[in-house]
């Protein structure tokens, strides 16, 4: 605001039409990297496991077969709920975690933790049944006891069922059959499932039911994880909706792609940089409940954030129907890809389809003499949005754009990202920093080729296909 006053000299109101746009504040730099997030979560798991082992959990394993089953049931139970908490923390979008690893990577980890949790849950149920069978008098009695006759076990059974449904619905085969929103709402029932399974930990976990210290520790830990996620995550959603941006312009790029600029008074609340993405939610009737991720297709400034949206699913279609003046709730920008990743080396930008948008934004922030090389992949030239802008920006920076068009099956080579081909077209491969963004197959093919050509993985940056 103060800058606005000094430069325009007229009114403190931000009036983007007359004032020269100023880049948004850069995202805060925090002294954390991705491995810190992993270390934090691993520490979390280690501490709990250590408490379990020292408070008598280990004794189980010195007690023959029955103790082994009992110990395995108790340990997998603890790990299952730890996986649940870890999954919640990963999806909570803490600033420090997000800045360290990027939301895309956090959500990929979230998925891995979820799958692990599914396995642990299966093992926990199996070992608990086996461990209890001798005393409860057979398989059927054990099942009846553990699904309802023991206190809180009916709740727990249903909770485990909900968690299992959430995990199964996230497997690729099922996930692809569901619309994003259906899947997402089903995913939210994981909160219910986790809450339902909580009580049996206290009543049936013999350590938790008798050891007051451990019980206090565990209850506090659970409350902490839940509270942090509830408040951290959902207050973010509410706050974003309370301070929405407005659509300031809409450009139709081609039949199914539009470029939307989001700006307005609230833009100054945001900090972000080229290469990042936002989660947007159109606050218009019938659309407010759908969220859509979009990469910024221009360096964000006080003029607004531009996103280029391809019509893929429900929410994208709805976004393409936005009109100027509509309010849009924006969360983010997220992602660790910023112009800083290039560290003065020569940029190699590889993109396919709509993944080209962050490349377009990054180019804008590159130095005049950075000489980037841009490799674009698409079926037709029209399918690549902003191609002219990219050509222009690259030319200004002394770089070059290479496009590879046509269906993959129609290409002359099997793998356009094989190390040999990359070596041939990228003379500075030993001194480059690569950024790859596009469909899953392209992302992984490019990463594989780059690694085989000798580019260290610390210099390969990916926008992971987490969506």
């Amino acid at each position: 605001m103060k800058t606005a006053l000094r430069t325009s000299g007229s009114t403190p109101r931000v009036d983007s039409a007359v004032r020269r746009p100023r880049p948004l504040t850069r995202p805060t730099q925090l002294p954390f990297v991705g491995s810190d997030v992993v270390a934090f979560l691993a520490f979390f798991v280690l501490v709990v496991t250590a408490v379990w082992a020292t408070r008598g959990g280990w004794e189980n394993f010195t007690d023959g077969w029955s103790g082994l089953w009992r110990g395995a049931a108790s340990l997998t139970g603890i790990w299952t709920s730890l996986a649940g908490m870890t999954g919640l923390l990963l999806a909570a979008r803490f600033t420090w975690m997000e800045r360290a690893a990027g939301l895309d990577r956090l959500l990929v980890w979230h998925r891995i933790v979820g799958d692990t949790m599914g396995l642990l849950l299966g093992v926990h149920i199996f070992t608990s049944i086996v461990a209890d069978m001798p005393l409860r008098g057979g398989f059927v009695n054990t099942i009846i006891d553990l699904t309802g006759r023991e206190p809180y076990m009916a709740l727990t059974t249903v909770g485990a069922g909900l968690v299992a449904i959430v995990i199964v619905s996230s497997l690729c085969a099922f996930r692809e059959k569901l619309s994003f929103e259906t899947w997402y709402f089903v995913h939210l029932t994981a909160y219910v499932g986790l809450a339902m399974s909580f009580s049996h930990q206290i009543t049936l976990g013999s350590m938790l039911s008798t050891d007051r210290t451990v019980r206090a520790f565990w209850v506090l830990l659970s409350i902490y994880a839940f509270a942090v996620v509830l408040f951290g995550r959902w207050i973010g959603v509410i706050s974003a909706a309370r301070h929405p941006l407005r659509v300031t312009s809409i450009d139709r790029i081609n039949s199914d792609t539009v470029a939307v600029v989001l700006g307005g008074r609230n833009i100054n609340r945001f900090s972000g940089d080229a290469g990042q993405f936002i989660m947007m939610r159109s606050l218009i009737p019938g659309q407010w409940w759908k969220v859509n991720p979009s990469s910024l297709s221009a360096a964000p400034s006080t003029d607004g954030m531009r996103v280029t949206i391809k019509d893929r699913g429900d929410a994208s279609a709805a976004t393409a129907r936005l009109r100027v003046g509509d309010r849009v709730s924006v969360e983010g920008p997220y992602g660790t890809t910023t112009p800083d990743i290039f560290e003065g080396r020569r940029p190699l930008l590889i993109a396919g389809g709509v993944g080209i948008t962050p490349v377009r934004a990054l180019l804008e922030r590159l130095d005049r003499n950075s000489q980037p090389l841009v490799l674009l992949r698409g079926r037709t030239e029209a399918e690549i949005p902003h191609l002219e802008e990219i050509a222009q920006l690259t030319k200004e920076r002394g770089g070059e754009v290479l496009t590879l068009l046509g269906r993959t099956t129609a290409l002359k080579v099997n793998d356009p990202f094989s190390p040999q081909i990359l070596r041939g077209i990228v003379p500075f491969l030993d001194d480059c920093v690569a950024f790859v963004c596009g469909p899953t197959s392209l992302t992984f093919a490019a990463r594989k080729g780059l690694k085989e050509a000798g580019v260290p993985s610390s210099r390969i940056h990916l926008e992971l296909p987490w969506w």
């Binding site: 461990a131 009916a154 249903v158 929103e181 219910v192 039911s209």
Partner: protein, 234 residues
């Protein structure tokens, strides 16, 4: 965009249905049974006591009232069996089975005039009948029985427990204490945590049909068996 767009309701329906079905399923599955029942099930005595468990308590009082008004039995009774778990005061009637029959027959009649039958109870047979609680507590300890020593076992041997049950002269369970020994520190901590609760449960249920303490199932089962033997010894 002519694409058909489903509404929020349609998208959220599966999640809501799942949650609803989940809660309904909890209601259907939840049938927490007292440990005493589970123990007798394990012994092969009685399998479906859970229905009796859900009987409303007013039946209890009416039955005891009935017993007072009609039978007034001074003889020792062997009816303290887990057959009628939730009608402990009915154990004063000659046969537990007849008590149950009475239960079903007398519900309407007793609800019609509950006070009339309850009032004469203390005066009719002050010493020997199932008198209301205030009168009964006075001579707690008139009968003391020690239950059999039960081993605390849950796939392995954790120790032993034996309860000492105190009854009023009218044979109502009024106080329980337990002697136990544990083999290891963990069992010790579980027992010292659980036994006071078990004592409370036994006194409040006035029978061996106790809820049990979660996480301490082994000691709960052993406790229940020992207490049952003490009651049987009456």
């Amino acid at each position: 965009m002519s694409r058909h767009e489903p509404s929020l309701a349609r998208r959220i329906a599966p999640a809501v249905a799942l949650t609803g079905a989940g809660f309904a399923l909890v209601q259907a599955l939840d049938h927490v049974a007292p440990i005493g029942v589970a123990a007798s099930t394990a012994l092969g005595e009685q399998t479906q006591v859970t229905t009796a468990d859900s009987m409303p308590t007013p039946v209890d009082t009416s039955v005891s009232g009935q017993a007072v008004a009609t039978t007034v039995p001074p003889t020792p009774v062997t009816g303290a069996s887990p057959v009628a778990p939730n009608t402990p005061r009915a154990t004063n009637s000659p046969q537990a089975t007849t008590a149950q029959q009475q239960t079903q027959e007398t519900i309407p009649a007793q609800s019609a005039a509950p006070q009339a039958t309850a009032a004469p109870a203390p005066t009719a047979a002050p010493a020997t009948t199932a008198a209301p609680a205030p009168a009964a507590t006075n001579d707690c300890g008139a009968i003391v029985k020690r239950g059999s020593t039960q081993s605390i076992e849950w796939r392995r041997y954790y120790g032993t427990i034996a309860v000492t049950a105190k009854f009023t002269s009218s044979k109502v369970l009024c106080d329980v204490s337990a002697d136990w020994q544990a083999n290891d520190g963990k069992s010790q901590s579980i027992n010292s945590y659980a036994v006071p609760y078990l004592n409370q449960q036994a006194v409040s249920s006035k029978s061996a049909n106790i809820q049990g303490v979660s996480g301490a199932t082994a000691v709960s089962v052993a406790y229940s068996r020992s207490l049952q033997s003490a009651i049987d010894a009456l």
